[in-house]
Symmetry: C2
Subunit: 356 residues, 2 copies
DNA sequence: AACGAAATTCAAAGCGCTTTGGATATGTGC
DNA sequence: GCACATATCCAAAGCGCTTTGAATTTCGTT
């Protein structure tokens, strides 16, 4: 076991017969230190298990090597599994680069103050914005504060003055809807996320556009919008099936409500993919493993259950993290943005409409 | 809008005509400062929006006002929704007490080194241990390091030398199994979590004890153990139903695999609560809202879907956080521990066995 | 051999807070 | 009115790092 008691710069430099300046520069890769001495310093630092104190470094430089994730914790939306998977991806990248996550829970209203405090306190070197609304006020605030940030998703239509990474939600839902139309469905319902969220808004646009292109007028009775939890899917589906003319196909914003949909159908003695077609947006949530290898004894289901538009939120977390670190390294570079296309995978929950 | 540019102790004390010492003490509630001056100081601090620099304070005191959560990120177990809900509860308590969460992802093998580094770096004032194994090595390490910590769950049988908060998993599964026995079931399967995890081990003990008390020998063909994800429940259930004598009832370690169970049954044209009884352990995961009010238009389902043993993991997060903060305030006080009993709720998935 | 440039190294001044050991003002008992 | 205790307040020394400005070496040139 290496030496236990913590060692500091002073001790290390004394043991080397060098000044603190030189040792500090040697470790931080400054050019003005001879390679020979640098090697000596690095070796000694490793041998003595020297670790610079983060708070001292932070005090001296103003950098904290922390990334802030402030997630809203309102009555409805708890910290949710989508977020958990996102952070799993992001955390991986942070770890590889010596950054840590500072996690703070707060209602949306508090977030403005929190961002201010985070920069005043120099607690974080950057933040990622989760769940952007259409016209989200956080973006202007962060720009005004000059804190590096990346938005997971988008807030505005055009001329964005911020970094973002998003999935092409509009096209994904357009495509899903088209697929159902091609199968012959005419009454297609939408069980969407909360449409104050920008991503849900775009999804709806894609859905409506596809319908209109097929000459079908969107019917508000077929459209629901709420937090993407399982019981929402259940109740929305029950409601839809009570209509005089129930839908023959449904597009659902997440596998979570999609499971509720399945359960509702089962309660009615119906089956997804036989009586009603279902397409879900699949974020590749790890605990559902819908897209990935199943952990169960090597038995890999080749055909996924849900027909889905799919994009891994975990991969998105990785990419957003990388973009943020890039921006922190180069805060005045051009604003990056990235738009990913979702995959389309055919599962067991879609079929032509039942003949009546 | 209050003054923008950050203000520091020196400026604040000068503007008050007091020394930094006095101002610092006034703000930190030391007794040797006159009430009158304290009031002045507090007022000025608020007015000028003074916020002490965390890194400076941390450097001076060695305290960081951060709580470490290091969660394992192995191939199998991703950061999971159980963790997300736990952290939602804990984060609430931290926030109320001016603490922040430091989140770090790491494999179990790395965790020993990480704990060392965290104390060497003085990055956190305490940590919570997630997912304790039976005989978990992390506990001895943390004790040796002298870092305050609380275990969510337990690691050992008796004579624990650490703080913990756990649910009575053994009794919960004993009770669930008994309930099924009382309904007349004889072949009862167990779809358990990973039994290297201590909680899963205890659950199995409860299950087996109940069977034995009823004079039934546990049958390993009826017992599965793996990560608690949806497809696991699905495949385990399919496997069980292929047995010559399939079970008539199942106890499942989480609602996630329980949903997989339901889906498997549906595939077989069977229904939970009619053809096969299912009891799940319900952690009150927020995105399932199985126990809570449904957010869907006020339509509150009074009868939950799954019959379940239930204990809110979010509440557990709150409690563990509070226990940890208490311990940080009083590191040498007696070791606290707490054992919660799970609720038992009857839903729609249990019934007497089908007569054949 | 001497000189200016380039390459290294260093002493010391912060960064913004807490805390020790005094100093000063206030109050007490006789 | 004086010695002493008590209540307030303060100057200065860290905490461990980075960074400025200067000092010292080293080296190629003429």
């Amino acid at each position: 076991m290496p030496a236990r008691k913590a060692i500091n710069l002073k001790m290390l430099s004394e043991s080397l017969g060098l000044s603190q300046t030189t040792v500090s520069r040697a470790l931080n890769g400054f050019p003005e230190v001879a390679e020979k001495t640098r090697a000596r310093v690095v070796e000694a630092a490793a041998r003595l298990n020297y670790r610079p104190s983060p708070s001292a470094a932070s005090l001296a430089t103003g950098k904290s090597r922390m990334i802030g994730h402030v997630v809203s914790l309102s009555e409805h939306i708890m910290i949710n599994p989508h977020f958990a998977d996102f952070i799993a991806g992001a955390g991986e990248v942070y770890g590889e680069n010596g950054y840590d996550i500072l996690l703070r829970l707060a209602s949306l209203e508090e977030q403005e103050r929190i961002y201010r405090d985070l920069v005043d306190d120099q607690r974080v070197d950057g933040v990622v914005v989760h769940g952007p609304l259409t016209g989200d006020s956080r973006i202007a605030i962060l720009n005004a504060l000059g804190l590096p940030f990346v938005v997971h998703g988008r807030s505005d239509e055009e001329g964005a003055d911020y970094c973002w990474m998003d999935v092409n939600n509009r096209r994904a839902f357009h495509r899903a809807t088209n697929f159902l139309l091609d199968l012959g469905h005419q009454r297609i319902a939408l069980i969407n996320g909360l449409e104050t969220m920008n991503f849900a808004d775009r999804r709806r646009q894609g859905y409506e556009a596809a319908l209109k292109e097929a000459g079908i007028a969107p019917d508000t009775r077929l459209m629901h919008s709420s937090d993407m939890v399982e019981p929402y899917g259940y109740h929305a589906m029950r409601t839809l099936m009570e209509l005089a003319e129930p839908p023959t196909a449904i597009v659902v914003a997440s596998v979570l409500p999609a499971m509720g949909v399945t359960r509702a159908l089962a309660d009615l003695g119906l089956r997804a993919g036989e009586d009603v077609s279902v397409i879900a947006f699949d974020d590749c949530l790890s605990f559902l493993q819908s897209g990935c290898r199943s952990g169960f004894g090597g038995r890999v289901p080749d055909i996924p259950y849900f027909t889905a538009v799919r994009s891994s939120i975990r991969e998105a977390g990785k990419r957003v993290a990388q973009m943020l670190l890039d921006r922190i390294d180069n805060p005045h570079g051009p604003l990056q943005s990235e738009l990913w296309e979702a995959d389309f995978v055919i599962g067991q929950t879609t079929a032509p409409p039942r003949r009546r």
